[in-house]
Assembly symmetry: C2
Homo-oligomer: 348 residues x 2
DNA sequence: TCCCGAAGTTCGATTTAAATG
DNA sequence: GCATTTAAATCGAACTTCGGG
């Protein structure tokens, strides 16, 4: 490997000067252009690349951030990750990606590994996370700029980026209502999930304002499960039960898109056509939704944007640390958006 | 930060001894248990964590590998990434993930960044890659153990892991044939994609062996496009054309699952029911396939396994480098598997 | 010679303090 | 004092060498 000393020898200057020139350090002001030229030429000729280990050792900076995903296979992640990637690409940071797979032990081990590598910031993609005080405590203890995506939070240590669940649910049910639906079945999220509460709140507030009656026998809850994939099966089973009940309904509002897919499958199996006989709406706008058959009407979370925002907040935090400024944690709630596709239809 | 010298001071020994004990170096054989105990206790008490920058500077090892994905949003990637993650978890390596987004410039920049960070190995997830000699040359030049997933290769510098496309296509068409289908439409892959050729070969070899006639007017090609998402639209459009032709067919074999989804949508739009009136088979077994409506019959690529294999090969390569052994590049072809679900049905 | 431990050097880049004309 | 350059110290761990018992 060619070192700075090789460049020094080649160019005829000391390694100090080489360092100053190549980094364009403040002192470079005093160095004549001819010297700079010679050094730069020598560096290029030898193909010099600074050793980042040495540089990091001195500067105590890694130019690396950690990304912890709670479940890679959750379709929620993909677009968030792309957003993270793209925002990071502008900066000089590179991400170390870890897939926690919803296991506490993995979370702890990965967090330790990331901290050992002196990541300068942390982004946690906490889709489908059953919030755990201990995890939060671990994160806060780390004391590096951290942003969580997809999990409501109120700490002043850790920032968060979430969609406005209440508004989203409100828009969703309003859409069904405006299509003429009155007997609406609702599959709520699992109790332990932070998203479940505000979404339910959004539904109730619309119901109250519009006079829509919510039949308690048409309201079901997703069971608590560690795997997000499970929500497909749960959506399927709950919809089967719904059908068995024989209580009429003309629309189903599913907790999320994957649940909605399960619902559609169950409906199809029972010979109920979507959207002609029953409308279905989801939540998230996962990649699959637009290519599903029928294409799913849903509430879009701007996932890529959210990933980018989290990076922005974290980067600000990193800069604040470097400049020894204080920055309070930010809690951003982004607006969801109704995406009307094929799975909802006006009541005939 | 607490350094090895702090531990030395706290325990009353020199930093040398501390280093030997904590790393359980060969010389630790000679050090009495009491000394070890005291050092370990001091380290724990102070919460000592070795500085990896310093260690890397000395050892020239980063314990990091680079992962380059050509398109994160391709559903092909997710499971491959999980396989990579899981295999890496066993080892002490951590992955730096980069999303090339099918752009040459990103590829080059990321490769340079990874190399600067002295990643010890490289894994390239080259789904949907229009193979490019220059990319390969760049990769070979890097001269670190590299494994490519999803792209046929024959270099002796770079290893590869792919599914046996020929066998897969053979199994797929055989499945349709065994269900009684004789008029089979085929949507082939784009010309520039390495996978396209062997899959077509598999189809033809089965046709020849079984006496199945392939109607050239029922054979269409996917256009070349940089985005994998485009294959949904292409599948949709090609199927529309197929229908417009009015040439009868009872089954469609799509190049991959996403194309198959486009096909199913077009069929549904035209009022043709799957599988009752037309069977559809895909290729890949992407996560969406099992939850699609109807659930898609397809040829499964063992994606998670393939990710794991690539890691295994790369890790062997890294070990070989450390031990100054030579290892030739490995080219693994894994067996695909037919997954029968709802989208194919016996001809009535 | 064997066992135990310490002093000193090395990795490569940055930075402080200082030396030239 | 100024412009220009550099020797030497520093970051933290690991390894080589050496000395004392």
């Amino acid at each position: 490997m060619v070192t700075i000393r090789d460049v020094a020898k080649e160019s005829g200057f000391s390694s100090t000067t080489v360092s100053i020139v190549l980094n364009n350090a403040p002192l470079a002001r005093y160095i004549p252009a001819t010297t700079k030229k010679r050094i730069e030429r020598a560096a290029k000729k030898l193909g010099y690349r600074p050793n980042l280990f040495a540089r990091s050792l001195r500067s105590k900076r890694s130019h690396t951030v950690g990304v912890m995903v709670f479940d890679m296979t959750d379709p929620f992640c993909t677009l968030v990750l792309r957003g993270i990637q793209n925002s990071l690409y502008q900066s000089s940071f590179l991400p170390i990606l870890t897939d926690v797979q919803n296991e506490r032990s993995r979370f702890e081990r990965y967090l330790e590994m990331l901290l050992d590598r002196r990541v300068e910031g942390l982004i946690v993609v906490a889709n489908w996370l059953f919030l755990d005080i201990n995890l939060l405590a671990d994160l806060e203890k780390s004391s590096i700029p951290t942003a969580i995506i997809g999990c409501e939070l109120n700490t002043d240590q850790i920032s968060s980026v979430i969609v406005d669940n209440e508004v989203g649910a409100h828009i969703a049910i309003e859409h069904l209502y405006s299509l003429g639906h009155r007997k609406i079945a609702i599959i709520r999220g699992p109790k332990g999930l932070t998203d479940s509460i505000p979404r339910w709140k959004g539904i109730r507030s619309f119901a109250k304002a519009s006079g829509l009656e919510l039949d308690p026998r048409l309201i079901l809850d997703l069971p608590e499960s560690r795997e997000p994939g499970a929500s497909f099966d749960a959506g399927y089973k709950l919809t089967e039960e719904l059908i068995k009940q024989k209580r009429p309904f003309s629309a189903i509002m599913a907790f999320d898109d994957v649940t909605a897919f399960g619902t559609i499958r169950a409906l199809a199996k029972a010979g109920i056509r979507v959207p002609e006989q029953c409308s279905v709406i989801g939540f998230d706008d996962v990649a699959t939704s637009s290519i599903y058959s029928p294409a799913l009407t849903t509430i879009r979370q701007p996932l890529e944007t959210m990933g980018g925002m989290a990076v922005g907040i974290m980067l600000d935090g990193i800069n604040a640390v470097l400049e020894k400024r204080e920055t309070p944690a930010l809690h951003r709630k982004v607006a969801p958006e109704l995406v009307v596709r094929e799975s909802t239809h006006a009541l005939l």
